[in-house]
Each structure stands twice: as structure tokens, then as C-alpha cells.
Amino acid sequence: MPNALEVAGLRKSYGSVQAVRDIGFTVRSGEIVALLGPNGAGKTTTLEILEGFRTRDAGVARVLGLDPADRSSARELRERTGLVLQDIAVEPYLTVRETIARSAGYYRAPRRVADVIDLVGLAGLERRKVRTLSGGQKRRLDLALGLIGDPELLYLDEPTTGFDPAARRDAWALVRELRAAGTTILLTTHDMEEAQALADRVVVVAAGAVVAEGRPDELGGRNAELVRIAFMLPRGYAPSDLPLTAEFADGRFVVQTNSPTQALHELTAWAMQRGTVLAGLTVDRPSLEDVYLRLTTDRALPSAPERSIR
């Protein structure tokens, strides 16, 4: 299967500030990849280079086999890509249907307007003026504008920011539906649960460079890490009474182990024999968020703010 996106050695500076130092990754056709990173890490600049809004200083960028900086193929590329940006930018006085129909007219082979309205869950609101929509409904309209051209590749820039939990679930279901129909998606998000739920692979960027890449459940050796068993020490016992070495952290005692079944058995047997309980008992691996924070902190950013409108 060919790659929808190929990026290598990407570099971009604004004056003396290096926003992107060395970013490279690939996205296969039909894949959902999440680009993760703190504000100012270079995500937006990278997206804007791929979308053709910005030129790169150095490096390779191929989008659906085309160079996004090549003006002669720009129109062709825009026929085949869709874009959902962070800002809500829609004309207030048009209706939902008119707004979508206007964009539909820009494409060679658009989706049907009514289908897209259904797809994003705006059915019944077709005749409403855009300015009377709620924030979440406007975001759905934005999504509709990204989908109307029936794109092969869709960029979603923090698509569910500001959604309530139910709307977020709906948006996730929609993204999965699009993937099932073969759409390739490059997603940025600050929501690790979202990355975990949607992405086939995640690419973590910090200070303008890729610091890790992999499946969400394997990122940064997450699957190979020690399991953490945490609990409260029963009253009247000292840590040295426990059958395993435990460290005190965040109000609980934590045992780290690579054989959780055995360790859990020893701990619970110890408690049962003494007729007591291990209150607040949890067993977990480091979450995607833990791994993400470890990968992206300690990399102080001298970089430009993500969006400075001057």
C-alpha cells in the first residue's frame, strides 16, 4: 500500500526561532496517525507545511505523492485533501445547508450535501442560520466542510476540543466510520484518551523534533514497563512487614513488578492471613499520558507560540 504522507528532515524557522528542527514520519493509506506534542512543539507548523500554507526551509514532504509546495499541483491536492482547523470560521448569516452547498460547489466530485449533514449529525438543522448554532454544532459544521470534498486524506486539528463527552463519542464514531471507508487521517490532539481510542500510530514531537513514534499501546516501551500495584498500608503494620518491597508515593504504597500475577497473589495472601484488607488497591501500567509527559517534559521550548495573530 502506498504512503499517503511522507515527511523527512523537515525544517522551518521564523526569524531566529526554529519552529521545526527535524520532523519525519510516514502515514500509510487508510491509517489514522495522531501527531502529539505540547503547544509550540511544531505540530501546527508541520501541518501547515503539509497543507501548503507554508513553505519549508529544508526536508522532504510528499502528500498523496505530490509536493505541497508545488503551486502547479496545489489545486489537484486540495481536491483530494480535507481540512478541519481549530478555529470556527464560518459566515454567520448563511444557513447550515447553504454553507455546505457553497463548499460543495468548489469540488470536482463532492459528497452529497444531505449525506454530509447526516454524517456529522446536523440533520434537522439545515435551515438554521450559522450564527444561531451552539459552539459544538459549529464545530460539526466545520467537520462537514472538511468532508464535503470526499477527501482521500483528512487533517483534523484538535477535532473534539470543546465537545461534551457524548459529542466526543459521536465524533470518534464518525472518525472510525471514515477510516472504514478508506480515508487516511492525520490528527492532532492534546487528549491522550482520544489518541488511544482512534490512532493506529502516534508520533510525539517536542521542541521541533520527533521524540517517539509507535502504536499507542507500545509507545516508549509502554508495554514492556513494570506494572504498578498500589494500595494503602493496613493500620498497625509497617512497610517492612510487607512480603515485597514497596515505595511510598502519592499517599499510597507502590510495588513495581514484571510478574504482577505472582506479586498480587503474595500481597493479597499476606493481607488475608492477617484478617485485613488492602484499601484502594489498583493495578496499572503507565498510561499513554504518563509516557507522553515523560517524553515531552525536560525539553524546554524556545519556540514560537502556536498561534500569534499579529
Partner: protein, 268 residues
């Protein structure tokens, strides 16, 4: 084989031309819809020039032909200059402000992400501005008629002047929107440039300083005033010398616009 290939290319070209035409019609239609749906923009664009002529008519309606107004009656003088002012407002003023605001709101970036070519977008805007200008001029002529200003006779000359003027001031409006990066500053900057220019160009009062007239004659507003006053009040045809100055300014505006126009709220 070669003939077939040529024929296919020719069919492809004519289809593309038809598609382009459809695209422009589509864009003009929606540009109109957005404008007429917004009650404020629709009302203010038309009320201001009409009110201005009505007030001038009330003040100077009885002032007959005088040397102060260059041998014209006051209203004969003001119908074309206020007509020019309304074209300036609906082309230069409207575009400078609206494009800066649309860029800041991210609307231009969104448009840029679609396959709509830039020329089709700007053709849609130009057609919209010309239409608004035509309505404005028609309203002003009608109000002038109420005060006894005769209908102009050289409609072709007026049409040529109007379209050329609208195009030139649209180009200048886009140029100003390209140079300004802050939408809040756009109305102030646009007016700051325009107001002294209107004054020395005799839009509000006739100017009797030879020096000022020579200077303003090389700036864009006076040539447009003069080119409209001829066919409106002096029964002359298109004033090609004034139109050439106007077109030159339009060309300068277009060059600045093409070089500096940005779709993205952030600067590169």
C-alpha cells in the same frame, strides 16, 4: 491519432472553461447571498450615500450654476462626486475591511484549503462590488433627479468609467488589506488614507488651489471624480486621460495585492 488527441484536448479545455464559468457564477451567487443576508452591511452601504446627497440637496438645492462649482449647479457637482464616494466605499472601503476581518477570522484560510482558485474568489468579490456600486449610483441619480438634476446622457461612458473605477478601487482595497495585518486597525487605516484624499480631490467641496488640484490630479480620487462628472453633468464622453491615471493606480494596487496578499492569519 494526433487529430484525436488535439480534439480531446480541445474538449477538455472547453469543459474546463465551462467549469470555471460555473465556479465563478457559484461564487458570485454565494457572495451576494452572504451580503444581502447581513442586514447591517446591506443597509449601511446604501443609506450613507443617499443620505449624503439628500442633505446636500437640502443645503444647496436652490444654488444654481455658479463659478464656485465650476459652472455647474451644486447638485450637478455633488451627484457625480458622491457617486464616486459611494463606489470608493463599496469597493475600496468594503474590501479593505472585509478581507482583513475574514483573514483574521480564518475564513480566508478555509477558502484557500478548497480547490477554489484565487482568481475565482476575487472575481466573485469584484462582481459583487460592481453590482453594489451600480445600485448606489442608481440611487444617487434618482435622489438627484428629485432635486431637479437632469438624468445623464452618456450611459456608455458612465458604464466604462464605473467598471474601471470599481476594478481599480477594488485592487487598491485588496492592496490595503494585504498590507494591514490587524483587522481591528483596518477601518481606521482605510479611512486615514481616504479622508484627506477625498478632501483635496474636491469630493466634499470644490478646491480652487491650482497646486492641490495638480497634486490630486495624479492621485486616484480626483481622476475618478472628473471622469464621472464629464458624462454626468457636462455631456462629454469617456475621459480617457483621467481613466488612464485611474487604471495606473489600479495596476499598482493589483501588483501590491498579488505580491503581498495573505490567506493565513499568521505571517510567514
Amino acid at each position: 491519432m494526433t487529430t484525436a488527441a488535439t480534439a480531446t484536448t480541445a474538449i477538455g479545455r472547453s469543459r474546463r472553461q465551462r467549469d470555471d464559468l460555473r465556479l465563478v457564477a457559484h461564487q458570485v451567487g454565494y457572495e451576494q447571498l452572504s451580503f444581502w443576508r447581513n442586514p447591517q452591511s446591506a443597509i449601511f452601504t446604501f443609506i450613507f450615500p443617499v443620505l449624503f446627497v439628500a442633505i446636500m440637496g437640502a443645503l444647496f438645492g436652490s444654488v444654481g450654476k455658479s463659478s464656485y462649482f465650476g459652472g455647474l449647479s451644486a447638485l450637478q457637482y455633488y451627484v457625480p462626486t458622491i457617486g464616486a464616494l459611494s463606489v470608493l466605499g463599496s469597493c475600496y472601503g468594503q474590501l479593505a475591511v472585509a478581507l482583513a476581518a475574514r483573514r483574521q477570522a480564518g475564513i480566508l484560510k478555509r477558502i484557500r484549503a478548497t480547490p477554489l482558485p484565487a482568481w475565482a474568489y476575487f472575481t466573485g468579490l469584484l462582481a459583487h462590488c460592481v453590482l453594489v456600486s451600480v445600485i448606489d449610483i442608481a440611487l444617487i441619480v434618482a435622489v438627484g433627479r428629485l432635486y431637479g438634476v437632469p438624468f445623464p446622457s452618456h450611459w456608455l461612458a458612465i458604464a466604462i468609467t464605473l467598471v474601471l473605477g470599481a476594478a481599480s478601487f477594488c485592487a487598491l482595497g485588496v492592496a490595503v488589506a494585504s498590507v494591514i495585518s490587524n483587522a481591528e486597525a483596518a477601518p481606521a487605516v482605510a479611512q486615514l488614507v481616504l479622508f484627506p484624499l477625498l478632501f483635496i480631490s474636491g469630493t466634499y467641496l470644490p478646491i480652487h488651489s491650482a497646486l492641490l488640484n495638480r497634486v490630486s490630479g495624479w492621485l486616484p480620487v480626483r481622476p475618478f471624480n472628473e471622469a464621472l462628472t464629464g458624462p454626468f453633468a457636462r455631456h462629454t464622453g469617456a475621459d480617457w486621460r483621467q481613466l488612464a491615471v485611474l487604471a495606473a493606480w489600479g495596476g499598482v494596487g493589483a501588483i501590491v495585492a498579488i505580491r503581498r496578499f495573505r490567506w493565513d492569519p499568521r505571517s510567514d
